[in-house]
């Protein structure tokens, strides 16, 4: 853990974090190439579309050029994504890397915005912190569940800028 991590390159919240494996691109099955068969929306799809390519927001506390994805840091996991296509509900629980992670609200907000942009309107969204993983869990959850506060947050140009940066696939 020493490894010179803290020297020179600015203050890091976590210089040697645990790294998790990426699940890789989902292979295309024969059924998915068949015009007739409908594919229902499942947890993998929800998990994959928003997060795998999310050039992620911990960049500002990790390193700006070569970010790990939320998946590699285990902030989001497929098992914590609950989807019901027939009932049109999606629930995502995310786990901040450390209990005092100052970015928790921003991570949640980015996930929420990404899902709003990527899912059909019929879906009801619920984004919250994995129970017991963050110091101010309830406060953050409350903010994320409040539609008006989310809308208001996105009116804030600076905040929108940060969220967009996190969601921009080109960077």
């Amino acid at each position: 853990m020493v490894g010179g991590g803290g020297m020179g390159g600015g203050l890091l919240e976590n210089a040697n974090p645990l790294i998790y494996e990426r699940s890789g691109e989902r292979p295309v099955t024969a059924g998915e190439e068949d015009e007739q068969v409908p594919d229902s929306i499942d947890a993998r799809e929800i998990f994959e579309s928003p997060f795998l390519h999310l050039a992620h927001l911990i960049r500002s506390i990790n390193d700006p050029e070569h970010p790990l994805t939320l998946e590699e840091l285990n902030v989001v996991e497929q098992v914590r994504v609950q989807v019901s296509d027939p009932e049109s509900t999606v629930a995502v629980a995310f786990t901040p890397t450390i209990p005092h992670c100052s970015m928790a609200t921003l991570i949640g907000l980015s996930i929420k915005v990404k899902l709003l942009r990527s899912l059909p309107q019929r879906f009801k969204l619920d984004v919250h912190i994995t129970p017991g993983t963050h110091a101010s869990e309830h406060a953050v959850n409350k903010q994320l569940a409040d539609k008006e506060r989310v809308a208001a947050a996105l009116e804030n140009t600076h905040l929108l800028e940060v969220v967009n940066q996190c969601l921009s696939a080109r960077s």
Binding site: G8, A15, P17, E32, E45, H66, L160, E161, N164, Q165
Partner: protein, 1065 residues
């Protein structure tokens, strides 16, 4: 003599006087070139020019003097070579020693002497004159420098003058207060002298270096810096004396490091940042004498926050290591290591990481290279121990982020030399072996094994003479047991790394014992039969088997081939009992394994008979051999054939063994039979024949011409005369006459003939060619099944393409055209005649035959044919695409590389005209034909042409045919990325049509339309913003598409549209 002639010529030079006056007083530029041209042609001498200039050179007005000297300098620049040949050599003998003159003399006296003494030694006095003028008014200096530059180009300058010119410049001129051009002139003078007068300049000793340091100190222009860096580099590399000025020289260059330069837009000089970086790096890294100053600077810059500075410093360090030794590096090693380690651990960017690793590699190489004195301590050992100490413990935490950076650092150091590799491997390998056993989770073990694999791979870089010295031999048993553990682990990922490690271990010479190999082969056998869900593992195992089989053929033929053979036989009886599809798939795995290990000639000799025997069994036995089974055997055969291609002996063995066998089986199957046997007809099905075609083709293309000739002498008579004597088991119940009145089954076998004759090298003569071509033509237009007539047409086209130009070719073509026209005009054979036309056209288009345009026109005419129109449109796809069986480059067909481009330029205008002229109902045929042509064209070629076709493409988007829609979308997508300005004119149409197509019934069209919607975001944002709300609303619908792949595209397109014009995007 020459001098006397020159004096006589003084009088009639009125014209020269005029020109000089025009230039000096009239301020015209033209006369200078005129004078220079006249001097070159011999009308005047340089002396005459000087005399003509006389009064202007001594004019009290500095501007006039400057003009005068400018004229002289311009003349000299163009005529310096002439000056020497004519005047210099003729006169030099007369002046034993040039008199020291013009020290401080007045202007007029110096000029007098110049003209008077000129005859004595032209060059010397010109130089002295110019040197003297360096003290003149600043307006004069630029012209003086030009003159000196001209003189510095003189090849046979008398000795001593170069030094005196440089001394004068160093003394009299404050270079950095001159304009850029004049500074550049000074650098040119120095460069010229360094090129031709190296010895003389070296005589100046360190004064020269010091003088130059003063000249370049403070230089700011990139153009001049490139030259100045070059000079410094030469100073160092040509071993000029630097004396006490090493640090000054370093300071005057290193102050530019790291280069921070952005070329201005539209820079006419074209100097890139990279040019400056490289030339400065060449200076800094050119000598170990800079080390004590440079290394602290590099460390400081690596530690800075600026990415480019980090990169440049690491790359420069890397370059330095090529010339440095232990002595230079010694004091800085701890800091260098600390900086590199920090950069790699924090991976600010992948490039920094890569450069850091490269620098560490060169550092280690440098330390390994240095020859040690007996009493000196070996820095390499302590350096490596440092690295190990800082990285070792991270290797024990396979879950943490720093595990990989640590492994990479160690591997970079170990890759530098055999000694470093030894040192690190002997430390790390036992640790990793131990860690593997300490960690029980598969993903942790995978990380550890992958690191081990990295270290093993490095071993391959160094060859060890002595077997006992090989560092791996001590760990061999542990490594093997570890790999075998990985291979039996439930995790696919771990298995995959295990397979790769096994391959690398196998590649180490003399490492694995025969016992290890037997075990390894056993594991590979098991892995080759893995189920569908571990496909990747099975493929890797097959690949590893192929690699290892080339190295250990005996182990594979003795341990694996018998097992696989047994598997094939047992399956026969099991299959008969109808034992389910799992047996069937085991069967197929077995075939794949057999072909995978056929990488060594001796193994092929065992696997090929097995495969052929299996095919015969399937045909003979009472078992129901499914089509797919036979195809699987053929695919394996084809893979074996591919592996044999490179080795002529195996290639001939395969050809000689497999082809007669396949032909015999096919001929047997085509015989009319008493009892109606369904089983044998499997061999005559389209797909099975196609699989056999690819086996025969692959086994033929690489034959040497003389062996191919042997084979062709058997096979052509088989088809033309029914001569079956060369086939094994050739007692057939009837005659084989595919071209005469044979059964339709026999006619289908023409496809096999096609596979063979169309794959032959071009210089192999085909017997009975004339007869063969006529028979093929006949068959291509008869009423038999489409398969055999198409095969005949393809075979005819394949032979036509390779036939040398001449009378015989023209005859064949005439016959073909006659046949086509006759067929197209009347009823029953129209489609066959069309197929023949298509293939013949393709054969000619590929080789740029003049008749091809005529045939293409005929084909284009058919686009409006009510019956053949759609087929003709699809025909364009065939013309533009690559075939797999005939007319291929691999099969020695004549395929010109630019045929698609040529076809495009020749025919697209006609297609467009045809489209506009055609009646409504056949317009789609033209669009389809066009879209096939566009689609197959390489995108870079297509892009510049597309804007002219844009209106047509936009129209094609409304065409109901989904093939046209799809190909149009795929044409437009790159255009949106590459030519956004042109496309933004049509944004309204594009957005509307793309959105319409995003609800097309065809999934492929929906996907392509959404990809285009994504690409539209590359157009200029202001053009798009008015559409943003509408598009975002419209794209909500495909988010709920029933197909996942469509939704995926919708998500990414919609996400991109959200970002348009939004902050932070």
């Amino acid at each position: 003599m020459a001098a006397a002639a020159a004096l006589e010529a003084v009088a009639p030079t009125g014209a020269l006087w005029g020109l000089v006056q025009d230039f000096v007083m009239g301020q015209q530029e033209g006369p200078a070139d005129q004078v220079a041209a006249d001097v070159k042609s011999g009308s005047y001498t340089v002396l005459q020019v000087v005399e003509a200039l006389g009064s202007s050179l001594e004019n009290p007005e500095p501007r006039t003097r400057a003009r005068g000297i400018q004229l002289l300098s311009q003349v000299l620049l163009q005529c310096h070579s002439l000056l020497l040949e004519k005047e210099g050599t003729g006169i030099a003998s007369r002046s034993a020693e040039p008199r020291p003159c013009f020290k401080t003399g007045g202007l007029s006296s110096s000029l007098c002497k110049l003209t008077a003494e000129f005859l004595v030694c032209a060059v010397v006095h010109l130089i002295l004159f110019y040197e003297n003028r360096l003290k003149d008014h600043h307006l004069v200096i630029p012209s003086v420098l030009q003159g000196l530059r001209a003189l510095s180009l003189c090849v046979a300058l008398p000795p001593g003058l170069a030094v005196s010119v440089l001394k004068a410049i160093f003394q009299e001129v404050h270079v950095q207060s001159l304009p850029q051009v004049d500074r550049h002139t000074v650098y040119s003078i120095i460069t010229n002298f360094m090129r031709t007068r190296e010895e003389e300049l070296k005589g100046l000793g360190a004064d020269f270096t010091f003088g130059f340091i003063q000249v370049m100190d403070g230089e700011k222009d990139p153009r001049n810096l490139l030259v100045a860096f070059r000079i410094v580099h030469d100073l160092i590399s040509r071993d000029y004396s630097l004396g006490p000025f090493v640090e000054e020289l370093f300071e005057v260059t290193s102050c530019y490091f790291p280069i921070d330069f952005t070329p201005p837009p539209n820079d006419p000089h074209g100097i890139q940042r990279e040019d400056l970086i490289l030339s400065l790096r060449a200076v800094l890294a050119s000598t170990p004498r800079f080390a004590e100053f440079l290394l602290p600077l590099l460390i400081e810059k690596v530690d800075s926050e600026i990415l480019s500075a980090k990169l440049d410093s690491l790359q420069t360090l890397n370059a330095c290591c090529a010339v440095y030794g232990q002595k230079e590096l010694k004091d800085f090693l701890p800091s260098l290591w600390a900086s590199i380690r920090r950069e790699v651990f924090q991976t600010a960017s992948e490039r920094v990481e890569a450069e850091g690793l490269a620098a560490l590699n060169s550092l280690t190489a440098c330390l390994s290279r240095s020859v040690l004195r007996a009493d000196a301590e070996d820095l390499l050992d302590s350096f490596l121990s440092n690295i190990l100490q800082d990285c070792r413990h991270h290797l024990c935490e396979p879950d943490m982020k720093l595990v990989w950076p640590s492994a990479k650092l160690l591997q970079a150091a170990a890759g530098a030399s055999a000694r470093a590799c030894d040192h690190i491997t002997s430390n790390v390998l036992p640790l990793l072996l131990e860690q593997f056993h300490k960690h029980s989770q598969s993903n942790q073990r995978r990380t550890i094994l992958e690191m081990i694999l990295g270290f093993l791979k490095l071993q391959q870089k160094w060859s060890y003479e002595d077997k006992d010295e090989r560092p791996l031999s001590g760990f061999k048993d542990q490594l093997c047991s570890l790999v075998f553990m990985a291979l039996t682990d439930p995790s696919t990922q771990l298995q995959l790394v295990g397979i790769r490690t096994l391959t690398v271990l196998g590649a180490q010479p003399d490492l694995l014992s025969s016992g290890d190999l037997e075990l390894a082969v056993g594991h590979l056998y098991r892995l080759s039969f893995l189920e569908e869900d571990s496909q990747s593992c099975r493929v890797a195992a097959l690949e590893a088997s192929g690699t290892l089989a080339t190295l250990y053929p005996v182990a594979f033929s003795s341990h694996l081939v018998p097992k696989l053979a047994g598997e094939l036989c047992i399956e026969e009886s099991d299959l008969a009992r109808g034992d389910g599809p799992t047996k069937c798939s085991r069967h197929r795995r077995c075939l794949q394994a057999l072909s995978a290990i056929s990488t060594h000639a001796s193994i092929v000799k065992e696997t090929l008979p097995l495969l052929l025997q299996h095919l015969r069994q399937m045909n003979k036995g009472n078992t129901v051999a499914g089509t797919s089974e036979v195809i699987a055997v053929c695919q394996s055969l084809q893979q074996v054939a591919e592996k044999c291609q490179q080795d002529p002996e195996s290639c001939w063995y395969f050809h000689q063994t497999a082809i007669p066998c396949l032909l015999a089986l096919a001929v047997q199957a085509s015989m009319p039979e008493k009892e109606h046997s369904v089983l044998k007809k499997v061999l005559l099905q389209d797909e099975v024949l196609a699989a056999m075609v690819s086996v025969i083709g692959t086994a033929t293309t690489h034959l040497s011409p003389d062996l191919a000739a042997q084979s062709v002498a058997h096979i052509v008579p088989l088809f033309l005369d029914g001569n079956t004597s060369f086939l094994p088991e050739n007692s057939f119940p009837g005659r084989f006459q595919p071209f005469q009145d044979g059964s339709s089954g026999q006619r289908r076998l023409v496809a096999l003939l096609m596979a063979f004759v169309c794959s032959l090298p071009r210089n192999v003569d085909i017997p009975q060619l004339n007869q063969l071509m006529r028979e093929l033509l006949e068959l291509s237009c008869c009423h038999s099944c489409p398969f055999s007539s198409t095969a005949a047409a393809k075979c005819f086209a394949g032979l036509l393409n390779k036939h040398p130009a001449g009378q015989q070719l023209d005859e064949f073509l005439q016959l073909a055209v006659g046949k086509v026209e006759a067929g197209l005009s009347s009823g029953p054979y129209r489609s066959q005649a069309f197929t023949l036309l298509l293939w013949v056209t393709k054969a000619l288009v590929l080789r740029y035959h003049p008749l091809s345009s005529c045939l293409t026109d005929r084909l284009m005419g058919l686009l409006s044919d009510p019956e053949l129109g759609p087929a003709a449109a699809d025909g364009f796809s065939l013309l533009m695409s690559d075939c797999t069986d005939v007319l291929t480059r691999a099969g020695h067909a004549e395929v010109r590389i630019m045929f698609r481009q040529r076809f495009f330029t020749d025919n697209v205008p006609a297609l467009v005209r045809g489209f506009h002229a055609a009646p409504r109902d056949v317009k789609p045929n033209y669009l389809k034909g066009l879209s096939h042509v566009l689609n197959r064209l390489p995108k870079p070629v297509l892009l510049p042409e597309l804007p002219t076709l844009l209106s047509l493409l936009l129209e094609a988007l409304s065409c109901p045919d989904s093939v046209v829609q799809l190909s149009t979308l795929s044409c437009l997508q790159p255009l949106l990325l590459e030519a956004p300005q042109v496309m933004s004119l049509h944004v309204d149409t594009l957005v509307t049509k793309f959105l319409n197509l995003s609800s097309s019934p065809s999934m492929a069209v929906r996907i392509a339309a959404l990809q285009c919607m994504h690409a539209v975001t590359h157009l200029p944002t202001p053009v798009l913003l008015p559409y943003k709300p509408q598009v975002i609303r419209a794209l909500a619908k495909p988010l709920d598409d029933k197909k996942r792949l469509v939704r995926k595209e919708a998500v990414s397109a919609r996400g991109e549209w959200f970002l348009l014009g939004s902050p932070g995007s």
